[in-house]
């Protein structure tokens, strides 16, 4: 990973050139950092009194409580989305054309609509029709609908990625459609989909921050209150951004670890199903791997 793909071992002249370029680039990057810090210092944003509240245990407890709410919404949303996604994938692969069509319409609808629209709808519109809904439930409902459709697509791809021989063999030993699905196909497909599911979870976790618009007391909303109370919105938001980065970075490492482990266990040509947004990049690699296999 660290070795550049486009250059092999450098000769003396190239090494000198790279050294010069490194120094120039290093100076430019350092210069930008200095300018930014200077700007922050000029406006008094680096003064300790603006950062100090963030070291106060009560403030930290308040913010970590927000993180707890964020994780709660993400967990509930993910659990519901998994159930919905499984159901949608199965319906989409159903042998009845009407059922298939209905699943396609449902999935295309919820995949093509912004999450924020769903959140606004469930929080502001539903109450007008007599449905009482808390911010938490509105957020979880919207997250589940949106990500359920996304996961449905991932699950479908996972199930279809399995060799036909698997289901044929299952039918040959006398299993019914549902037995074959749950005993043979889904357990194998699920393993391929784990990296994609984790990456969808990261997207979902980031999306819970939209809950702040509908007054759900999650991390971002609490950082806004902190920023307003201590008059340090820049510092409070930057701090919370750091928390998100740490959590998501850890999760993405888990996703990568799972994927590498998968490849090692099932051989280099192991197919993994890529996620929709975050793993868009990886899908190219996986796709190339599949092409290579069919070519050879």
């Amino acid at each position: 990973m660290t070795a550049p793909v486009l250059a092999d071992a450098l000769g003396p002249r190239a090494r000198r050139k790279v050294l010069v370029a490194s120094v120039v680039a290093g100076v430019v990057v350092a210069g930008l950092v200095v300018v930014a810090l200077q700007r922050l210092a000029d406006k008094g944003q680096l003064e300790w009194e603006r950062w100090e509240p963030l070291t106060d245990w009560d403030v930290l407890k308040f913010l970590l409580g927000g993180l707890g709410e964020t994780l709660k919404a993400a967990g509930a949303g993910m659990a519901l989305a998994m159930v919905l996604g499984t159901a949608l994938a199965l319906l989409r692969l159903s042998r009845a054309a009407v059922v298939r069509a209905a699943a396609i319409v449902w999935m295309e609808f919820f995949r093509g609509v912004p999450l924020l629209l769903l959140i606004f709808f469930s929080f502001f519109a539903l109450p007008k029709y007599g449905v009482e809904i808390t911010p938490f439930r509105a957020l979880v409902l919207a997250l589940a609908l949106y990500n359920g459709a996304m996961l449905g697509e991932i699950f479908r791809a996972g199930i279809l990625s399995l060799d036909r021989g698997q289901s044929e063999a299952a039918y040959a030993v006398g299993l019914t459609y549902w037995q074959a699905m749950f005993l043979v196909i889904i357990p194998q497909a699920a393993r391929r989909m784990i990296p994609a599911i984790v990456s969808q979870l990261i997207t979902l976790l980031k999306d819970t921050s939209l809950g702040f618009v509908i007054t759900y007391e999650e991390l971002l909303r609490r950082s806004r209150s902190t920023g307003e109370f201590f008059k340090n919105p820049l510092q409070a938001t930057a701090f919370v951004a750091l928390i998100y980065i740490v959590v998501n970075f850890a999760l993405s490492r888990v996703a990568r670890w799972l994927e590498v482990r998968q490849r090692r266990r099932l051989g280099a040509g192991a197919i993994t199903v890529a996620g929709v947004e975050d793993l868009a990049a990886v899908s190219v690699v996986a796709g190339a791997a599949i092409d290579d296999e069919s070519a050879s």
Binding site: P4, G112, V113, P114, F120, F249, E277, D278, D291
Partner: protein, 214 residues
């Protein structure tokens, strides 16, 4: 559905803003992404580090947090732009990190022989990358770049939080004004589907035309 047809002009105005927001920030994202990818594969360590730092920070921060940071935080150091320009910068910067990752993985799929052949002809690193490797890399990542475009159409709705009058923002105020939320929201959903579904078809068509036949 009468409320929808009575307010078609509002929907179209919102749709126009959403489309221009998406197109401008996607252009910015492509430029940022290609520069970041070039930095990450370059033999110059500080550039590789800066590129990796940018991608890992921006990608792991929620878009909403970036909007808040930019719109409420950076105004404290007198970095102020109109809401629309702020939205273009934030959306472009965010999507740019994903484009960078995608383009980089595309570069990795171009076989080594291509770069080796280019080098043996005496091309310099920028030439190897710009003339030989990138054109091939971009053709292999048309599909993921396309799904980033569709994601951007939907993500542009978050600009509603800083009062950019795009589709979701106008939908929300229209639903308040008319007190008929269901038809209004359904209308907005259909308007989005009119953008996202044809985009999907267009991407598939472009993908077919640009695919490298091996």
């Amino acid at each position: 559905m009468d409320v929808v047809f009575d307010n078609l002009d509002v929907f179209f105005a919102g749709l126009r803003t959403t489309v221009s927001l998406t197109l401008l920030s996607y252009t910015a994202a492509l430029v940022i992404g290609i520069v970041v990818a070039a930095c990450r594969v370059s033999p110059v360590p500080p550039l590789r580090f800066a590129g990796a730092f940018y991608v890992e920070t921006v990608r792991n921060t929620p878009l909403t947090v970036l909007f808040v940071l930019f719109f409420f935080g950076l105004t404290k150091v007198d970095i102020k732009y109109s809401a629309f320009i702020t939205a273009v910068i934030v959306l472009g910067g965010y999507t740019g990190a994903f484009v960078g990752e995608t383009v980089r993985s595309g570069i990795n799929t171009v076989s080594r022989g291509q770069a080796e052949a280019a080098r043996s002809l005496g091309l310099t690193f920028p030439q190897v990358l710009g003339i030989v490797v990138l054109p091939q890399a971009l053709r292999t990542v048309v599909a993921p770049l396309g799904s980033l475009f569709v994601a951007l159409i939907k993500n542009s709705s978050i600009a509603a939080l800083i009062a950019v009058p795009e589709l979701v923002y106008r939908t929300d105020s229209l639903s308040n004004d008319t007190a008929r939320p269901i038809p209004i929201f359904l209308g907005a959903a259909i308007a989005y589907l009119l953008l996202t579904i044809p985009s999907g078809f267009a991407i598939r068509a472009i993908e077919r035309r640009t695919a490298i036949k091996r």
